[in-house]
Symmetry: C2
Subunit: 189 residues, 2 copies
């Protein structure tokens, strides 16, 4: 895994504001991948308590939320009933996710995340800063800049939960989940 950049700035291949957004998306994803590095199927499936989501289901969630924003921003439409159905139970999480999202290796989730991300980066590379901040026709209170920030924000929210859950998996899981801090604070979870 390449070390992350600690700079937000324009990036080659994107218009300037989109490049800064891509920096945010990349950093968030780096920390997610770091947080799940090396997890086994049993660790990915573990349910901390009866209302917890597994770490695996949270990874699946991050990937399908990203898919839903492809519809909303690149295609300017709400997800169809069929799409919505195909993304359940990862989209809603909860009981159905606990029942169905199991027995997949980490590579399965990483593949789903990577497939969604490839489309995101291609969609963003094909568009410009004026597009980024126009109102979305499928959600007029929102612009695409907020939508893609929110993808990172929802991912970071769940990554916070993944770190918390991982630190309670036991010594093997906790040791591999250590997070290198590049910032002037150091904390336990």
């Amino acid at each position: 895994m390449e070390p992350p950049s600690y700079r937000i700035e324009p990036l080659p291949g994107y218009t300037p504001i989109i490049g800064r957004l891509v920096g945010i998306l990349r950093y968030a994803r780096y920390t997610t991948l770091k947080a799940v590095d090396g997890l086994t199927v049993a660790e990915l499936d573990h349910l901390h308590d009866q209302s917890s989501n597994s770490i695996g289901s949270l990874l699946a969630h991050i990937a399908v939320v990203e898919r839903s924003y492809h519809c909303l921003t690149f295609e300017e439409r709400r997800p169809s009933t069929q799409e919505h159905a195909s993304w359940e139970p990862a989209l809603t999480l909860g009981a159905e996710a606990r029942r169905l999202l199991r027995n997949k290796p980490l590579d399965h989730y990483l593949h789903e995340l990577q497939e969604a991300r490839t489309l995101t980066l291609q969609g963003l590379a094909d568009r410009d800063d004026a597009w980024l901040e126009r109102s979305l026709s499928a959600a007029p209170a929102m612009n695409a800049h907020w939508a893609w920030f929110h993808q990172a924000e929802d991912e970071i929210n769940h990554r916070g939960q993944i770190r918390w859950l991982r630190s309670r998996l036991g010594s093997v899981g906790a040791a591999a989940g250590g997070q290198r801090r590049a910032v002037p604070h150091n904390e336990e979870m």
Copy 2:
């Protein structure tokens, strides 16, 4: 609490790139405040398990991390030993935070957050986009744009944990912690 904006775009009173960053900081803070709205002292102090941080200590953490970034970005220096000491145990969290950060009402934490945020917004309003993306002399691998994005990112990470912890406080805490979703997914925590 004013409803949040679902747009990231330039904001009056800030240079254009800084304005977009302020939109991110504001949205993250809105969700934090929403996640802790109405919590009692007992709920703020509750320890889910022996290695958990209380919700109160996570709020204290968010405020002191913001203070530490004032030093790093606005004053271009690392926090002093004295400052660091005064921010402990909120900065490091863990055992000392569990022992010392207790018996404060929500208003105490909200005041700390607001005081730090007022300085942040003033510091950002006084600076420009060229400043935002220059390397920080106290941390040359980092620019201020990343540093302030990271403030929001660390806050969102802990907000994810706060939501998780709050949903397990019992029926009173969980009911008041409901999160209105403005996005095309709906999930349990």
